[in-house]
Symmetry: C2
Subunit: 356 residues, 2 copies
Amino acid sequence: MDTTPISSGKLRGLMKLADASGRFKMMAIDQRGSMVTKLAEVLGIEKTDVKYSDVASLKTLITRILAPNATAVLTDPIYGHPYSVTEIPRDVALLLAYEESGYVSEGVSENERLSNPIDNWTIEKAQRAGADAIKLLAYYHPDASKVTLQHQQDFVRHVGDECEKQDLPFLLELVSYALEGTTKSVEFAKQKPDLVIRSVQEFTDPSYKVDILKLEFPADLKYTSDYKDSAFYEGDSAYDLSDVRDICQKLDATSTLPWVILSAGVDIEEFIENVKLATAAGASGFLCGRAIWKDAVQFYPDNAAVTQFLENEATTNFHNANTAAENALPWFEHQHFGGVENIQLAKQSENWHQEY
Amino acid sequence: MDTTPISSGKLRGLMKLADASGRFKMMAIDQRGSMVTKLAEVLGIEKTDVKYSDVASLKTLITRILAPNATAVLTDPIYGHPYSVTEIPRDVALLLAYEESGYVSEGVSENERLSNPIDNWTIEKAQRAGADAIKLLAYYHPDASKVTLQHQQDFVRHVGDECEKQDLPFLLELVSYALEGTTKSVEFAKQKPDLVIRSVQEFTDPSYKVDILKLEFPADLKYTSDYKDSAFYEGDSAYDLSDVRDICQKLDATSTLPWVILSAGVDIEEFIENVKLATAAGASGFLCGRAIWKDAVQFYPDNAAVTQFLENEATTNFHNANTAAENALPWFEHQHFGGVENIQLAKQSENWHQEY
């Protein structure tokens, strides 16, 4: 088997992101837009009236209590990093988000989504600040306009180039969206496998220099007939469980890179099913935020109640997700690397330090 | 108390180098010159006939077996890093040496020592390759010629500036030497406290931008009367144990930075005494190489025998050193930081990510 040699910085970074057995059990607390929206709702105020310090201190609390369960914590450099960095244990890796929260549609159809970088933030800064890897969220719909596709592809390629320059692992998160109608529908559930798989086809191209893909579950269990007795079932089915298993297998066969599953705000029960199905098909773990901790936000600003939720329900959620991920494929066992015994440092030689 | 705010990269780096309680239990395997000399002796060949692959593979074996006991591993980018990087566990930090092994005396008295960088190696490369911190060994004798002092001071300042630029912790190792005679004498033992303490006075100046000092034990227990029944006693005393305790206290009072103790090739029994005395006086742990593993080298190239020694005696040595360091002062409790509750991220604000 032809495996890919790996550069030193990416190798150390990948080792740090996963547990010692190579499985990713990562927590996301880089939410900005969605957290502001939720805090506005909870506090009964306008989004523009949500204070920086509210977001920063809630993130600090979540990070402090939950980070010890994670192999890595993904946070953002605006609200998250400056106040939470001291809360991330030494043996939990640090992932920093590169993209500005949300999306814009300037110059394209109002249903299309363009991602952009955070102002005055660079991958070189992230590395100096202690990041072990970079995460980029790119919205992607393979049937969007050429202008939109080009913009998103160029953006991903830029981050891939910069990560290569700094020798940091590049974790690319792909999020699909509906060009018409809503993602919360049986119609979109039917489209989703195709959208996720075609996006993976695009971004596994070596020119993007991605190291790990962070993917949506490629189907929607809310519209899967076998879950009709679950709390999350929406009453209309796009497929059955055997179809979903096939879709996960097809995704895994398409992904020439290790991949992890994201939670996109679903409830924990559904997320655990996602993790089980994804890892059974070959996923290497998860990078999960809201499914674990979102129900804590409703108690804000009662920090004692937030803390109690985080120490109890949220911690249990995390443990359950970790257990579900025990079946994940270690990243170095992915065909891209071909097993721990085949991991090969790029340019390994007596002259490595000169040529690096 | 006036404490010093700390930048993000240095903060994460220091957290990774120490254990969760802030104590440094670090292993050095960055020896080059001394390892080549020893291998030549063991193999009965000339130093110039020692192969690169012998040094690299011995370092790999030592790193594989002993690194799991360490909070951080210091290796070199020539023989060490390219072949050992996969052997350093995810939760063990990586320190990379910056200086060329040994010293030169070109243009100065033949007894004086000038340190130099490794060719084609930079601190920016070290960071990209995954280093969590940089170590520089500088030979220093405060009574050396002006030219020598200036060269060494300029070199340290250069590394301090580069580490600040990359926001990596800078660990400075100071090693004294004899301008006349030998370091293995009661005369030198008498000079040593003064040499070590005056060197610390120099390099704690903020202009050098050092984060942690790696120091010789500031006295020599081979010449300490209370150890006359030990295997390492040399038969002539420069001081007694109470003097040695005072010297350690004086060193600690002089060091305005956290400091750790080095082993300089002494036997493990003596090193354990050094660690106990240094940590009782306020040291934050150790960075120890040969005292732990040097006796493994004599078995090379019998890798089974090397392995057996490393898994047994050397592992026990490491455990004993770790136990002796349980009494160390956590780095964040040093007066420089003023306690964990006073750790303050530099430029912490809503605009941190823009100003960083």
